[in-house]
């Protein structure tokens, strides 16, 4: 009786029968696992921070910029844009919408950052005044603050500034 296929010659060599089909199944599963689990390219929210406050600086001489936007988060997770209540940490849609509206208005009015009025070499989005500051009490969870920053960035704010002086507890 002839031997089954796969055996080259009688006796001395071990010839494992490799089933290719399950092997490929296993490899594919591994590949999919890697694609899902592998850490993505690291990403981050870039935010500006104020420089060290100079104790001698006379703050009363600074003129407030009428285009300043400050998003304040209160300890009960409610949001305020300048002085208006506008949603909460878990419902950032009104904030995003309002910011989008504002930025659209500024685009139509060509409201540029100070110093950018004549820089036509830069794209519009970099010249417009879209700075948004974020002010949150120290006791808030970091995760909540990041959600707000996420929403603000989504609306196109650039840059996002963190206010770190005079924070409530």
């Amino acid at each position: 009786m002839a031997m089954g296929g796969g055996k080259a010659e009688g006796g001395s060599k071990a010839v494992p029968y490799i089933n290719v089909t399950p092997l490929i199944d296993v490899l594919l599963v591994l590949l999919i696992i890697f694609m899902v689990i592998t850490p993505l390219k690291p990403s981050r929210f870039q935010a500006d921070i104020p420089t060290q406050r100079d104790p001698n600086e006379d703050l009363s001489k600074l003129k407030p910029n009428p285009l300043t936007l400050v998003v304040s988060i209160s300890t009960d997770l409610q949001l305020k844009l300048n002085a208006d209540n506008i949603g909460s940490v878990n419902d950032t849609a009104p904030l995003s919408q309002k910011l989008l509206q504002l930025f659209q208005q500024r685009k139509e009015q060509h409201a540029y950052k100070p110093g950018m009025e004549t820089r036509s070499d830069l794209p519009e989005s970099e010249r417009l005044e879209k700075t948004v500051f974020v002010k949150a009490p120290r006791s808030l969870k970091y995760g909540d603050v990041v959600k707000v920053i996420d929403a603000i960035k989504g609306a196109g704010a650039n840059p996002v500034g963190l206010q770190v002086d005079d924070l409530p507890q």
Partner: protein, 151 residues
């Protein structure tokens, strides 16, 4: 009766591939789980499913300054745990290695449960060194069916 395939001279040299692959898979899974934890020094529960962070591969540079805050009161720079007072001098030394102005950025990997005041503490320590940008590290939302991230 024929001899078992491959057997001869009393030595069984037939390789069972199936158990070998099983063992390899288990080893692989162990590595996949353990290696990322080893690399980054300390596990931090980063904010997940964020819509809009920008990708920044400089975070993995050797010269990148990454301060991890896994829990309130714990500050880690790479694999070393620091006290609050050690942050400023250590960051200052690392800043000396950074040549380009635009790379003078401190990354903060803070866990979602950490209080914001801790992050503010780190920011205050670092402000005086001429750093005006910080990067808050967060994980982007993984889209179902997305291919491997583009290089």
């Amino acid at each position: 009766m024929g001899m078992a395939a491959g057997g001869g001279g009393g030595f069984q040299s037939e390789i069972n591939v199936t158990p070998m692959v099983d063992i390899m898979l288990v080893l692989l899974i162990i590595f996949m789980v353990v290696t990322p934890l080893l690399q980054h020094g300390v596990t931090v529960s980063l904010p997940q499913n964020m819509n809009n962070p920008e990708e920044d591969t400089r975070i993995n540079n050797e010269t990148a300054i990454v301060i991890a805050i896994p829990n309130d009161g714990e500050y880690w720079l790479g694999k070393t745990k620091l006290t609050k007072d050690q942050i400023k001098p250590k960051v200052e030394t690392m800043l000396g290695n950074i040549k380009k102005e635009e790379d003078k950025i401190v990354y903060i990997k803070s866990g979602v449960g950490v209080s914001y005041g801790e992050v503010v503490n780190v920011i205050n320590e670092v402000r005086g060194l001429g750093v005006d940008k910080i990067g808050l590290v967060a994980d982007k939302k993984k889209k179902a069916g997305s291919t491997a991230p583009a290089a």
